[in-house]
């Protein structure tokens, strides 16, 4: 579904942050992306959620070669990708409902459809009583669940999460990971970048390990968290 071949990435005239990265993500797979600080995790994620194009190499998304794809075609592909950030990146002036509704409204969904879908999804992430709360009044865990709901409201083919548990406590981290695993079981290809090796062990999913700009693939182990 997504293929990276010999991808290199540098900003401007700086050194290459990613060097000869090659991997592919199969439909419905779950991967962790781990690595020390400065290894290039965020850069690789930016390539995955189409915030940047690679400096070199081939990148194929859903059968389309990103290196030659015109800028005007990017929004259509981006709508098939959901992104969750460590710092949530919610619109502070919008309510939880309005934040989650944005991707649907971008696609021109009808008001009634938007209402039904958003309420259902916020209920699924346990925020049915916080529909009209603004981000400033939500806890870290609640904000991240709103962000996850926003990322998956369009039923994306690929879900990319950048340190989604970085700003929440251990219990909330476990609950959020359950959400990601549940989404993956419904067929969403999922990539979660994390520093937390215990989460990786708990889920037991395969790992893409970045180090010094290069990448190693580690097969998944047995999950140790019975909750998933």
């Amino acid at each position: 579904m997504i293929t990276f071949e010999n991808v290199g990435m540098r900003y401007g005239m700086g050194n290459e942050i990613l060097t000869d990265i090659s991997f592919s993500l199969k439909r419905g797979s779950f991967q962790f992306l781990v690595g020390p600080s400065g290894a290039g995790k965020t850069t690789l994620l930016k390539l995955l959620y189409l915030a940047h194009r690679p400096s070199r190499g081939l990148v194929n998304f859903f059968g389309k070669d990103l290196t030659i794809l015109e800028r005007e075609a990017l929004p259509r592909i981006r709508r098939r990708i959901g992104v969750v950030f460590q710092d949530f990146r919610l619109f502070d002036h919008l309510t939880a409902f309005e934040n989650v509704a944005l991707p649907l409204r971008l696609q021109g969904a009808k008001k009634i459809q938007v209402a039904d879908h958003v309420e259902e999804l916020l209920s699924w992430v346990g925020l049915e009583d916080r529909l009209h709360a603004r981000p400033a009044t939500l806890s870290g865990g609640e904000k991240q669940r709103v962000a996850i709901a926003r990322a998956i409201i369009n039923k994306p083919d690929l879900l990319v999460a950048d340190e989604p548990t970085g700003n929440v406590d251990a219990e909330m981290s476990r609950r959020l990971m359950h959400l990601f695993v549940a989404l993956n079981k419904e067929g969403t290809t999922t990539v979660v970048a994390t520093h937390d090796e215990s989460l990786v062990k708990a889920v037991g999913a395969p790992v893409l390990r970045l180090d010094k700009g290069g990448m190693n693939f580690e097969p998944g182990g047995s999950p140790i968290d019975p909750g998933q």
Partner: protein
């Protein structure tokens, strides 16, 4: 278009809140400059109409008997000339009234050698050859001097044209400054909302969707500023014309545009809003092209 606008931008901040006021001040200056140019145009039209429909013939002969004889001959010639509606000798009292600003009030019958003035009114339909008339007057009354005001009018017209050009320049500079201010405001807005724009892009928003949010915001700024500026300008013009009326029907009050001719003021807020919105649209779309 506007009904479906996805307004993801937060409520305006203080900096954006000042923009309508700046646009308002610019439009105020623009309106006053335009009105000034129109007033000068109106004034010129009135002056030129009144001056080109009149001639003055002066009989400057020191000997009274000769002056009277030449006046009579000139009067006969003028009244017989095609294109002249009427010719009449200005009464001594009127001449003394004309001279009073320089010589003070003087009794009639004084021995001051004042020339005789003949006021000539022209027909508007038949053009008059003033050069030929001057020659015939010279032959009939050697002391006669014809003044068709052309030399004075030419200077006034030149001066008025320069002032009108300057006012036009002010309007152009004000419009350019407004565009520059909107561009700066827009760029600042783009920088402020960069994160929001990036998130919108990542969610699959097209450039058009994002720029429309800015269009709507800046259209409102332009409309607010335009209305403010025109209201202040209209109030100022009303004050000016009221004061001019109190001074009497002089050149100022006669030249100021009357309310019936001020319909174009209503177009200015629309023009300001359109310029502001289009400037914002081009600025935002250009900036968005630099983002992936």
């Amino acid at each position: 278009m506007w009904g479906r606008t996805l307004q993801f931008l937060p409520e305006q901040n203080l900096r954006e809140g000042l923009l309508p006021w700046v646009i308002g001040v610019m439009l105020f200056l623009c309106t006053l400059s335009l009105t000034g140019a129109i007033a000068i145009g109106n004034g010129l039209e009135r002056w030129s109409t009144s001056l080109t429909s009149n001639l003055t013939v002066q009989i400057a002969v020191q000997d009274k008997a000769q002056r009277m004889a030449q006046t009579e001959a000139a009067l006969t010639l003028l009244q017989a000339t095609p294109g002249i509606k009427s010719a009449s000798v200005l009464a001594d009292a009127d001449i003394m009234a004309l001279l009073s600003p320089w010589l003070g009030d003087m009794p009639l019958g004084t021995n001051l050698p004042v020339p005789t003035l003949i006021e000539v009114k022209l027909e508007t339909t038949t053009p008059l050859n003033s050069k030929a008339l001057t020659e015939r007057l010279k032959a009939t009354a050697p002391g006669a001097q014809l003044d068709d005001h052309q030399a004075w009018m030419a200077q006034i017209l030149d001066m008025a044209l320069v002032v009108q050009l300057l006012l036009g320049g002010v309007v152009v500079m004000v419009v350019m400054s407004t565009i520059a201010i909107v561009i700066f405001g827009c760029r600042a807005g783009l920088a402020t909302h960069r994160d929001s724009i990036e998130i919108m892009h990542l969610m699959g928003a097209e450039d058009k969707t994002i720029s429309t949010a800015f269009d709507v915001r800046y259209l409102a700024h332009g409309l607010k500023g335009g209305l403010l500026g025109v209201l202040f300008a209209a109030a100022s013009l009303w004050l000016l014309s009221t004061m001019a009326e109190k001074m009497g029907q002089g050149l100022i009050s006669a030249s100021l545009p009357v309310a019936d001719n001020l319909w174009w003021l209503a177009l200015l807020p629309i023009a300001a809003a359109s310029i502001t919105m289009l400037t914002a649209r081009f600025t935002v779309r250009k900036a968005l092209l630099d983002m992936m």
